[in-house]
């Protein structure tokens, strides 16, 4: 197997440790991250909320300005300050656009953490997150039970009971895939052996939402890996990686969850830890930064993060066997933000799709823009989320694809809703699902 060139935490960014540090802040965290911003504005037209609202306060440059003003004591934790931080999708498109290398994602996480600590109940993603993040997503058994119930109720929610639902609940029902309520991790074998000669041993992160909503994607991932000579370990138990918690500013919880994942997966004898959810992958790759101040875990976190790969990143670096079966379809690939902006991975998933005979990749404008899913954003800020989604769907509809492919559970759910809203009939799938079909895996 060839050397891996990881996409990951950006290596080209300014050395955070070389800049000054505000009192009480760890190096490379907090307000320091805002300092390279020179107010050029090149981020503005890349920001989905700025494009939708046209307000500087809802642009990356404006948010940096507010975060800085708050840290310097020019403004307090006002309702407006909270609102504008809350309205950020944290899609990190601005990070890709920024010539100065402002690490906006990390900046927003640390600003939200200060916010969450000071005023958790006034912060929408914080308060709506309370139920979802603390009580549901972090508890696998409960999450499974909840989605098993939804699976049973799904035909009802989409049919006779539809009229009883609020618009938000109807949207949620439209998102639910038929596979909701399954669980791959419950039925998985500890090890799946490679078909043919073994080339690598990898571990699969089963995750939280992915496991109960898209167990078929895990099956497909294992199938494609085995077909290409990988032994796949599926360790149990596994818990949620804490990405959504970190994005919402629930730093303490996020760090505790990261330590748990490192305990669960850190010592495995494998070449790589594979993730098929972009948001989780980007977050796992940031564990080194997340736990940098934790003496007991810092080194382990760095070592673990270095082993993490998105499944497309890993497969594209292998010499893949040509899949035998054709999938005749026009496929629109929509970049998940935390794959493109969080891990700088855009070429690999497209390369994998091009491997499949019969697949015609169709380009459409703003494939690199957020779909409005953004973790729990779609629930916390439904109106703006839908506005952003509809813009995306208009571009996709014009390209007339048969299939929309995207490698992140949130995006898959949101795009399912988008297809329903736009009255389209395309399938919405993870790229690995199409690859598995082509391998007959």
């Amino acid at each position: 197997m060839g050397p891996l060139t990881p996409g990951g935490e950006r290596a080209d960014l300014p050395d955070a440790a070389a800049s000054t540090t505000a009192p009480g802040e760890a190096n490379g965290s907090g307000i320091d991250l805002a300092l390279p911003c020179i107010h050029c504005g090149l981020c503005l037209d890349h920001c989905p909320t700025y494009r939708a609202l046209g307000r500087e306060t809802d642009s990356p440059r404006g948010r940096i300005y507010l975060i800085r003003a708050q840290a310097e004591g020019r403004i307090g934790l006002t309702d407006n300050y909270i609102k504008h931080l809350d309205l950020c999708l944290n899609c990190r498109a601005c990070e890709t656009a920024c010539p100065s290398g402002v690490r906006f994602g990390a900046l927003m996480e640390s600003a939200r953490e200060r916010l969450y600590r000071a005023a958790p109940q006034r912060y929408q993603q914080g308060s709506q997150g309370e139920l979802l993040l603390r009580h549901l997503i972090a508890r696998p058994a409960l999450l499974r039970a909840a989605f098993a119930l939804l699976r049973w109720a799904r035909p009802l929610l989409l049919g006779p009971a539809r009229a009883l639902l609020s618009p938000e609940q109807r949207n949620f029902a439209a998102m639910l895939p038929p596979t909701a309520g399954g669980s791959f991790s419950l039925r998985a074998k500890p090890v799946y052996r490679a078909r043919h000669e073994r080339r690598a041993t990898v571990a699969l992160l089963t995750g939280c939402v992915m496991d109960v909503l898209f167990d078929d994607v895990h099956e497909a991932t294992v199938g494609v890996l085995r077909a290409n000579g990988c032994d796949v370990l599926v360790p149990r138990p596994q818990s949620c990686c804490g990405a959504l918690h970190a994005h919402a500013g629930r730093g303490e919880e996020a760090r505790a969850m990261a330590r748990r994942v490192i305990d669960q997966l850190g010592e495995l004898a494998c070449d790589a830890v594979l993730v098929n959810a972009a948001g989780c992958g980007a977050h796992l790759k940031s564990y080194g930064r997340l736990l940098a101040a934790d003496a007991a875990y810092a080194e382990r976190a760095r070592a673990f993060a270095a082993k993490v790969r998105d499944v497309s990143e890993f497969l594209a670096a292998l010499e893949l066997k040509r899949p035998p079966k054709a999938v005749a379809a026009r496929v629109a690939y929509d970049d998940p933000c935390h794959l493109l902006h969080g891990q700088q991975i855009s070429r690999q998933p497209r390369e994998l799709l091009r491997l499949i005979q019969g697949v015609e990749l169709v380009d459409f404008p703003e494939a690199d823009a957020c779909c409005g899913s953004a973790g729990i954003y779609t629930l916390a800020h439904a109106d703006l989320s839908l506005q952003i989604l509809d813009r995306k769907m208009a571009h996709i509809a014009a390209a007339a694809p048969d299939i929309i492919a995207s490698g992140n559970p949130g995006c898959l759910l949101q795009l399912r809703l988008g297809v329903a809203r736009a009255g389209l009939t395309c399938r919405v799938v993870h790229p690995i699902t199409l690859l598995a079909e082509a391998y007959g895996a």
């Binding site: 090149l42 306060t57 310097e72 004591g73």
Partner: protein
């Protein structure tokens, strides 16, 4: 004027959602791309139609409240700073392409449209919008028209005024006028030419008719590396002296190169003192020969390496390096102050030597990335806003640099405008009579001075705060 009743009236006109007046939101509008000076508006409005703009202007006119337009806030002379408070009219929501006439190569657009988005919209027809400021991925066409913006390719294609065929504008009394036409210049005075570059002091632009240009058949993009700025400067003079007008001829000095390398990893030699980015475009035939002549001139001047972009991707990367160079400086310096002066091309080596000496005298750093082909300099004075006195020294150095440009027979501004930044220095360049006449022209459009006050002309006593970017004044709220 009671600001509460102003805000109520604005909300009645536009709806509550389209008006911002809270101190903790107005804060982000206190500066544009020119961050050294700051001023807060009383309110910001977000109109979506020209009629709404006219209503806002009529209200301001009636109440004697200052007002001004703001696009993406990328301007570098403080043109969008509400020096006397009042209503800031944000154009971001007026960003539609209203019409594309492919055959006649004309587009009609709203002023909030981002420059690059227009080129993207017509790319499929083999067309583009030629003026390309470095901020073109963010800046708006309304702002471009107001500032008469330039860009790297103005060397061959001219500046914004050469590409604006007509305008619709709301005058400061609320009346709407149109000038020019899609057929270009009409009879009578060339009002379009007068309005482009008026820096938002004649009224609010609500619609723009622009010329579209056919995409060239081919490009040839060269990056020539030189050991010193002097060698690169003489090369520029010789290329133009040889009768070659490239589409663009840009210089990037070693300091900027360091920032850009950290960002894009272009792999230029560490010994590089300066890089010239030279682009030829047009009919494919003959481009290679022209490129060879340029390469020969580069070699005669001691170039270390001449790289020719092998495909569109490499060309795009070289241009990304050039256009995002300002932004990338945040990686290597704490603060910097961007200047914009023009000198006669032949004076380039002398001007640069004198500029470097000025900055050295003040104990500051300097970086240079600029349009060498037309002598439009952008010296960037580097400083640390945390060091007491550093910003004042940077401002002083900037003033001396511009003085050198004017003394060498150049000008105060190539493309960033005078705005707030350079108004006090206008008398270096113009006589009292010149300035008096220009102000009389302004008063024809803007007799009460309510529209973007405090710009372009010297005013006794500055009413904005000049404070370091990172330690800005408190908002009273």
């Amino acid at each position: 004027m009671e600001s509460a009743s102003l805000i109520q009236s604005l909300e009645k006109l536009l709806g509550v959602e389209a008006v911002t007046s809270a101190a903790d939101e107005l804060l982000v509008y206190e500066c544009d791309g020119h961050t050294i000076e700051r001023a807060l508006p009383t309110a910001v409005v977000f109109p979506t139609t020209a009629e709404q703009i006219a209503e806002v202007v009529r209200l301001c006119h009636r109440l004697r409240v200052p007002f001004l337009a703001r696009g993406a806030g990328t301007g570098l002379s403080g043109g969008a700073l509400p020096v006397e408070g009042g209503v800031l009219i944000e154009m971001a929501r007026m960003n539609r392409v209203l019409e594309i006439d492919e055959v006649n190569q004309v587009a009609v657009v709203e002023p909030g449209l981002v420059n690059l988005r227009l080129s993207q919209a017509v790319q499929g027809m083999g067309l583009y919008y030629a003026p390309d400021p470095s901020s073109q991925a963010a800046c708006t066409l309304g702002g471009n028209a107001a500032e008469n913006s330039g860009g790297p390719h103005t060397l061959k294609y001219g500046v914004t005024t050469n590409h604006v065929l007509g305008l619709e504008m709301v005058l400061p009394n609320g009346e709407t006028i149109t000038c020019g036409s899609r057929a270009g210049r009409g009879p009578g005075y060339d009002l379009t030419g007068l309005l482009v570059g008026s820096e938002g002091t004649f009224g609010i632009i609500t619609k723009i008719i622009v010329r579209l240009t056919r995409l060239p058949e081919a490009y040839k993009t060269l990056a020539a590396v030189f050991p010193s700025i002097d060698a690169a400067s003489s090369t520029v003079t010789e290329i133009i002296g040889a009768g070659i007008i490239p589409a663009a001829l840009e210089m990037i000095d070693h300091f900027v190169l360091r920032a850009v390398e950290a960002y894009l990893h272009l792999g230029f030699p560490a010994a590089a003192g300066a890089v010239l980015l030279i682009e030829l475009d047009g009919i494919r035939d003959g481009l290679d020969e022209l490129a060879e002549r340029i390469e020969a001139i580069c070699r005669q001047n001691g170039s270390l390496e001449v790289r020719v972009a092998k495909d569109d991707a490499e060309r795009a990367l070289l241009w990304k390096a050039r256009k995002e160079a300002f932004g990338a400086l945040g990686r290597v310096t704490r603060s910097f102050y961007t200047h914009d002066g023009v000198i006669p091309r032949t004076k380039l080596p002398e001007a640069l030597r004198r500029i470097y000496a000025i900055v050295e005298k003040h104990g500051l750093g300097i970086a240079n990335v600029f349009h060498a082909g037309d002598g439009n300099l952008h010296p960037l004075v580097l400083f640390d806003d945390r060091k007491p006195g550093d910003q004042e020294r940077a401002l002083k150095a900037g003033e001396e640099i511009l003085r050198v440009c004017v003394d060498l027979g150049g000008s105060l501004s190539g493309e960033h405008g005078i705005g707030l930044e350079k108004r006090e220095w206008m008398p270096w360049f113009f006589t009292d009579q010149d300035l008096e006449l220009m102000q009389r022209v302004r008063s024809v459009f803007n007799p009460e001075g309510l529209c973007n006050p405090g710009k372009v002309f010297p005013t006794p006593g500055r009413c904005v705060e000049t404070r370091p970017f990172a330690k800005a004044p408190n908002v009273s709220a």
